[in-house]
Amino acid sequence: MHINSIKISGFKSFAEDVELILEPGVTTIVGPNGCGKSNVSDAIRWVLGQQSPRALRCANMQDLLFNGGSNFKPAQRAQASLHITNVEGKLALESPEIAVRRQLTRSGASDYFINDAPCLLRDITELFMDTGIGVDAYSVMEQSKIDLILNTRPEERRFLFDEVA
């Protein structure tokens, strides 16, 4: 199972639609400071169900919508989707590719979709249960957070161990 592509639109600094087509193996994302690389990682975690604005470096979820910078119109909708191959039928669905999408409008409406069918966040977390994919899993390591594994009190650190036990 791997990600075929990531689509982002209106999310943080990605005002216009962008698509990253991935292969199994290693994809590197590079570019100057502030160009949007970590925003891609935020988009992935957001689609997977990250509910805490602080974990996405925001004060409110509304801050995720492209804010227009000093030269553009702010976006009315933020959207991100992951298109995942369902190789080996690891995910409990029939289709060979699964599209998981999340969107947020400026009016505050927040919606989830699996293969374009509206669903709940719970459906997405259940879809990925036991695959190691998920907001709290070890599958995404944020910038400047690597040291936290070492700094957390020993009691907090065990959370990582409980994930796989």
């Binding site: 991935l22 290693v26 994809t27 690389k37 970590s38 030269n71 009691e155 161990f161």
Partner: protein
């Protein structure tokens, strides 16, 4: 359950030593339950000793050594139940050149079963990419994506 945790814990301990040795070219590690009598609530202490040094608290390790220890712990857990994909955002920032090379080699071994998305400024890390995406902001405030796809021809 207590047994499930202890069994995972033993595996993580062994994996941690293994990955640490690969990243440090040797050395000794230990993972200890702070309260062995209360396995399901106990904290976990980390002892990590690079080759030739004396085991001390990990607070005395250098910035780059701490990054490697954290990476080793992350992958020690990961090896038990690898996720299909893994996103790493600049975890190589504190590493010197030879450590980045070891980190990159480690990633390549795991990349056989796991898809990696690695955000980096480091040229050595970029060299192990199958696909590389550049994010640009030619117009201030507006991110765009440019792809520079490698594939096997470069690494053959």
């Amino acid at each position: 359950s207590r047994e499930a945790f202890l069994s995972a814990f033993e595996q993580i301990r062994a994996n941690f030593q293994e990955v640490f040795e690969e990243l440090f070219n040797g050395g000794e590690t230990e993972l200890l339950l702070t309260d062995p009598s209360d396995v399901l609530e106990s904290g976990i202490d980390i002892i990590a000793c690079p080759p030739g040094k004396k085991p001390q608290s990990i607070t005395q390790l250098s910035g780059g050594e701490r990054s490697l220890v954290a990476i080793a712990l992350l992958f020690a857990v990961f090896k038990i139940k690898p996720s299909p994909f893994c996103v790493l955002d600049e975890v190589d920032a504190a590493l010197d050149e030879s450590n980045v090379l070891r980190f990159a080699n480690l990633i390549r071994t795991y990349a056989q079963q796991t898809q990696f998305i690695i955000i980096t400024h480091n040229k050595r890390t970029m060299e192990i990419a199958d696909v590389m995406y550049g994010v640009t902001m030619e117009q201030a405030g507006l991110s765009k994506i440019v792809s520079a796809k490698f594939g096997n021809e470069i690494r053959a």
